[in-house]
């Protein structure tokens, strides 16, 4: 496990404290006692405390990632709960939601309990998301209620879209009882076919099978309509297209209670980056055009999209060394998340407070987690950031077991300097 155990009294001094839950920003200090928040204020005197002088860096809530794949059980060669937790910690995350497409999938109360128990003493909090359907086969509902009792925080067949509208309706209806969100990977598979990348000028040139943007937006629109009909709670993962943004924006304007996330890679890259057939760019949904990228950024700015989530998806070297058509979808993203997102969003003149909110308070509210982290007596979840540091991302920055990221060698802006989580301090 990464990081060192916190001393009994620990004073974070000289911080630019950003509290996104209460909309406050001030220069001050935070005193921790036994890993819990003892006091937050402009000036705190604690002569016995060990002092961490941030030198004016941003001190804020620990990030919360609604979308990670930690591969345990089944593919521990790619990632384990422990290595995934360390990668999260390095990226400034203190809570993550783990998708159920493990082997076997998290489709029973017992498998949810396995993740909760195995994750209980790790460096970050891991919340399992349960499968919607048994075996993720899209047919029979899982024991949703029993899984919530064991700790499932949401439901998703992630990786596999719920193609059957009737099943989507039934899970949205049923979960009104449980008050947890349903997360559907929106891609109409009959439009995707054997598509490998966004369908557009680049797929035409590269001869790779195309996945049209409407394969996503059609299903997003269906899910929004079913949500309005059932009163269910929908969270739209990894929005990739301008068309989907338009449907979500219209639904929110109509008063629908829906949330959405975007990944740093969809904010950072466009389909032109696939020109060299680098399989690290192969993700689902695919990286789309520059127009889509700009639309996603604007949607995050205007609140249509609430959260930044990584879709951290580890794969082995040999799997990603396959020809493009056969390589699996996904890239890892925890360690590079803030630097990648802040680089493109600061260039687009988004406020730091708003970007932090998209990584902290917004995802916690979307899941119904406690979001008021800077309250006395609460276990400390703190991330310390230097938003001005420009750095080149490299393999040595990875704590994940896998290395499938195209961010290597890219220059990023803003760096997580330290993370406090589970009574431990991790410093870069």
């Amino acid at each position: 496990m990464k990081g060192e155990t916190l001393p009994k009294l620990f004073l974070i001094k000289n911080g630019d404290i950003v509290d996104p839950a209460n909309g406050e920003r001030f220069n001050g200090s935070i005193l921790l006692k036994n890993g819990k928040i003892e006091k937050i204020g402009k000036r705190i005197s604690a002569p016995e405390a060990e002092v961490y002088d941030t030198g004016g860096k941003v001190v804020t809530h620990g990030f919360c990632d609604l979308h990670v794949h930690f591969r345990e059980p089944g593919r521990e060669d790619k990632e384990t709960l422990a290595t995934g937790a360390d990668a999260a910690l390095a990226g400034g995350f203190t809570q993550v939601c783990a998708m159920p497409n493990t082997d076997p999938p998290l489709d029973t109360p017992e498998s949810i309990r396995f993740v909760v128990e195995k994750g209980s003493d790790l460096s970050v909090k891991i919340h399992p998301i349960g499968a919607i359907s048994v075996g993720q086969h899209g047919k029979e509902l899982t024991e949703l209620g029993a899984m919530v009792k064991e700790g499932a925080v949401a439901f998703s067949d992630d990786g596999i879209p719920v193609m059957e509208s009737g099943l989507m309706r039934r899970v949205l209806e049923y979960t009104t009882l449980l008050r947890v969100p349903v997360i559907n990977h929106a891609e109409d598979l009959t439009l995707k076919l054997d598509g490998q990348m966004h369908e557009g000028s680049w797929s035409t040139r590269l001869g790779l099978g195309g996945i049209p943007d409407v394969s996503e937006s059609i299903m997003v629109n269906r899910d929004l309509e079913l949500t309005a009909m059932t009163g269910g709670r929908l969270h739209v993962p990894h929005v990739s297209s301008a068309k989907s943004v338009e449907w979500i924006r219209a639904a929110k304007e109509g008063g629908l209670d829906v949330t959405a996330e975007v990944t740093p890679h969809h904010l950072f890259f466009n389909d032109g980056n696939l020109h060299s057939y680098d399989t690290n760019f192969k993700v689902a949904p695919p990286i789309r055009t520059e127009e889509d990228r700009v639309a996603l950024r604007e949607a995050l700015k205007d609140g249509t999209i609430d959260c930044i989530a990584t879709d951290h998806a580890p794969h082995t070297i040999e799997e990603k060394e396959a020809p493009f058509d056969w390589a699996p979808c996904g890239m890892i993203g925890l360690e590079s998340a803030f630097g990648a997102a802040w680089k493109v969003l600061s260039e687009a003149e988004m406020e730091l407070e708003q970007v932090i909110a998209a990584l902290t308070v917004n995802p916690r509210l979307a899941m119904g987690f406690d979001e008021n982290l800077f309250s006395n007596g609460r276990e400390a979840e703190i991330t310390i950031i230097d938003p001005d540091e420009e750095w080149v991302f490299a393999a040595q920055h990875l704590c994940s077991k896998s290395r499938n990221t195209p961010f290597i060698d890219h220059s990023l802006k803003g760096r997580v300097k330290a993370t406090i989580s589970s009574g431990r301090l991790f410093e870069q």
Binding site: L193, S203, G210, P212, A322, P323, F324, D325, W326
Partner: protein, 311 residues
């Protein structure tokens, strides 16, 4: 290092006009060798070429092999296809093992687009693309241009139609890039559900009316048609395809000006093209096949040769 501006021949999209011109010039010289009683020159003696075919092919493989033998290179064939490709040794390991035996060049056909770019990351040998999925087939594009050049005397300003399934055609992509570099005009024709999105951005026109296209064109390159691909239906029936896009005898007879007929093979007679048309005097389909050997000799020589050929 060879005589072209790049180490490998991966596609015509990134091959500059001067390289294409050089290849076509040398191909004409090598074609003369093929008319000699002894059809062999010592140009690539001592060079070793491996033909790595991960997809079924008869004519392209034979054509490359003959080109290698005519140039006195040593050649070895490796063929595999189907499920063994995904389950067995990785493509990287296969390539590295072969290269460890000291070779100079890999000619590869692979069903996955872009596989050749990956191959250049794994080996130091010169890589020649003999077809990568639905991406490019550069030597086919070159032999088509050589054949057009012979039939029409020029490429600059020539009007060329490509008819059929454009989306899944590596032949179409290589022809488009090569012909545009050489100053030709290209119009595509075929079912709209087999026309790639934004294809006009490559610098070509699209016209779905085959009769208009045939009136416009100096030459037509007819692609092989498959009704289904991986269980997905694109073309309702052969009858309907012939009716809307087929290069039929009636259509060709209606034309006032003769049109040059090309086909990359293998031909589905009676489907995309009538036998009468394929065997007519305006068809240069067998010239394409012969020119294939000459073009591949030129490519191998220019990539692997030590001294410029006196021509």
């Amino acid at each position: 290092m060879g005589f072209l501006s790049k180490k490998h021949l991966l596609g015509l999209a990134e091959t500059p006009r001067k390289d294409i011109e050089l290849i076509l010039q040398h191909a004409s010289s090598f074609k003369e060798v093929l008319d000699r009683p002894i059809k062999k020159v010592p140009t690539l003696q001592g060079k070793t070429v491996v033909n790595l075919f991960f997809e079924d092919s008869t004519r392209t493989r034979i054509s490359f092999e003959l080109a290698q033998k005519r140039l006195s290179a040593d050649s070895v064939n490796f063929s595999t296809s189907g499920s063994s490709l995904k389950k067995g040794e990785s493509f990287k390991d296969t390539a590295r093992n072969i290269e460890a035996m000291k070779i100079d060049c890999i000619v590869m056909r692979h069903p996955a687009p872009g596989a050749h770019i990956h191959l250049t990351h794994y080996v130091d040998s010169v890589v020649v693309n003999a077809g990568d999925g639905t991406h490019e087939h550069p030597t086919q594009g070159l032999l088509d241009m050589m054949s057009l050049m012979e039939a029409k005397g020029k490429l600059d300003g020539l009007k060329v139609a490509i008819v059929g399934d454009i989306t899944h055609s590596r032949v179409a992509r290589s022809n488009i890039h090569g012909l545009l570099s050489m100053g030709a005009e290209v119009t595509l024709c075929g079912p709209p559900n087999l026309m790639p999105v934004n294809v006009q951005e490559l610098g070509i026109s699209v016209n779905y009316d085959i009769d208009e296209v045939l009136v416009w064109a100096d030459a037509v390159n007819v692609l092989r048609i498959q009704r289904e691909r991986q269980g997905v239906s694109y073309i309702p029936s052969v009858r309907e395809y012939r009716d809307l896009f087929g290069i039929t005898r009636e259509r060709i007879e209606r034309l006032k000006e003769p049109i040059t007929i090309m086909h990359p093979g293998p031909i589905n007679r009676g489907v995309e093209i009538d036998s009468d048309v394929a065997d007519s005097e305006n068809a240069i389909i067998l010239d394409q096949v012969l020119n294939g050997v000459a073009v591949r000799m030129a490519v191998l020589y220019l990539l692997l040769g030590d001294q410029p050929e006196a021509s």
